[in-house]
């Protein structure tokens, strides 16, 4: 074996090892976070955590029932507001978009995707909260603003993956464009679209910064959606920043519950997608 060959082989081995190590680091980070959360949080995830209100500092026990319900309320509001708009915008981009306007919408959606979520929080604070009040509605609006571009772009991409021949097949039978989209294109892409939606909702349910400015927090059950509302991410933030050991314990538990929820949604989304786009290859 020549020196040159030996050099090539050792370089190849070195690069393989290097990339392998980096891959392991990338994956193990998730497990480190998960493990840490489990280690610190699992003892505190009990019945009380899901059913009781937070207690004042100094007292031990209590739970985060209001934050769990609040999170669900806010995410649900965001979903109701954001998914239809994002979905329809995605349909427009994929099926109707001309050149200039569609390019503009697509570009804006990507920009909006990249806006730091705290900026969105401040924006909603200025537009909504300053006029009315901290509320679940304001939180929902902030999260919907994050959800819309995610949904629009993923819907567009999965609908673009539907072969043009299927559209032509429907059009050639005398279906209108709208009928073709509603009865052929969307059904062919629905798994991908649903996956994108679940991932989007999972993404917004972990957002903290936009909620700090909009739904704020609440140690008690709020007086409805117009009142400031507790949520798990904000609760984690406030409890973790506090000097009380028992609040730290609760924050770990909240983090664990939130992460399991998001993981569950992710796995569900992957399962739906792994069955493939319903189109023959």
């Amino acid at each position: 074996m020549t020196l040159r060959n030996r050099w090539r082989q050792s370089l190849s081995f070195f690069m393989l090892t290097l990339t392998g190590i980096c891959a392991v680091v990338a994956v193990s980070l998730l497990f480190l976070i998960l493990g840490d959360l489990f280690y610190n949080g699992w003892r505190s995830v009990d019945w009380d955590f899901f059913t009781k209100l937070p207690l004042p500092p100094g007292e031990t026990g209590g739970g985060m029932a209001n934050a769990i319900v609040g999170s669900i309320e806010i995410v649900l509001l965001a979903t109701i507001m954001g998914l239809p708009v994002g979905f329809m915008a995605g349909v427009y981009l994929s099926e109707f978009g001309g050149k200039t306007f569609a390019f503009l919408v697509r570009y804006m959606a990507d920009l909006l995707n990249g806006v730091p979520s705290i900026v969105i929080g401040i924006f909603v604070w200025i537009v909504v909260v300053r006029r009315y009040h901290f509320s679940a509605y304001a939180g929902g609006i902030a999260l919907a603003l994050i959800l819309i571009p995610i949904t629009a772009r993923s819907t567009e991409q999965f609908m673009n993956a539907v072969p043009q021949t299927l559209r032509e097949g429907a059009l050639a039978l005398g279906a209108s464009k709208w009928k073709t989209i509603a009865t052929v294109v969307v059904p062919a892409a629905y798994r991908g679209i649903a996956t994108g939606m679940i991932l989007g909702v999972a993404r917004i349910s972990g957002e903290t910064a936009p909620l700090l400015f909009t739904s704020l927090n609440n140690q008690f059950w709020g007086a409805g959606l117009r009142d400031q509302t507790a949520s798990l991410p904000v609760m984690i933030y406030s409890h973790a920043m506090s000097p009380y050991d028992d609040w730290h314990r609760q924050a770990w538990a909240a983090g664990l519950v939130l992460l399991i929820g998001v993981l569950f949604a992710n796995v569900a989304a992957r399962l739906i997608l792994s069955r493939g786009i319903a189109v023959q290859k």
């Binding site: 021949t165 032509e168 097949g169 039978l173 009928k179 009865t183 059904p187 062919a188």
Partner: protein, 273 residues
Amino acid sequence: MSPKEHMIMSSANLPSASPAAGKPVEHQGKLKAVNLNFYYGAYKALHDISLEVQANKITALIGPSGCGKSTFLRTLNRICETIPKTRVEGQVLLDDEDVLRVDVTALRRRVGMVFQKSNPFPKSIFDNVAYGLKVNGFRGSLKDAVEHSLKRAALWEEVQDKLQKSAYALSGGQQQRLCIARALAVDPEVLLLDEPCSALDPIATAKIEDLLFTLKDQCTIVIVTHNMQQAARVADRTGFFLLGKLIEYNTTEIIFKNPTKQETEDYITGRFG
């Protein structure tokens, strides 16, 4: 009431269906192209095509790849409009009516199309055939109509036990016949076929060719093919396209045995293409 009667009734209910629907007059010009030009952007794909398709005949369009025969076919039911930046000049007449004046969905119901690559919808076999009926507001027994269409496409025997299975479970040849059944379900007056057998083996091809013979009593057929033997076997009339021009159009016998143009003869005898 038979499914066929159902369909005639349903087509009579549709406002834009022609009065002649269902009973075309023998051997008349059903579909006419008059000085047709077609552009993809700045590129001119069809040059001044004039051609008359006779009712209840099979018309084959042959020519080398890229000669414009598929493009021409796609102007006949205006499916070419789905491609952006294209432009048509000249006229296409269906029963002497300009197709641009006909509502496009009504036109496509009257002029059905089968594509080169079979394109069943990701739905059950039944729903595939029923699709055209449903979108056209068909009232009546879908079950009978689907059975009737599958029988017309000579597919019923093979699929009658698995109508609820996915269309993708079928073989390539069966899928193509399913697409023909789907097109026949709305009872079109004209059926356009764009190289329907190019992805099929000889047995499946023979089945589809047999099918075309049985269908021509009921509708007018235009088939694009790059297989000259196929044109010779099935067509009453044949048009030869080259570089976006219609070189020669005549009865199949004349085109294959005694063409008047040198280019046609060169192509038929295999000197190019």
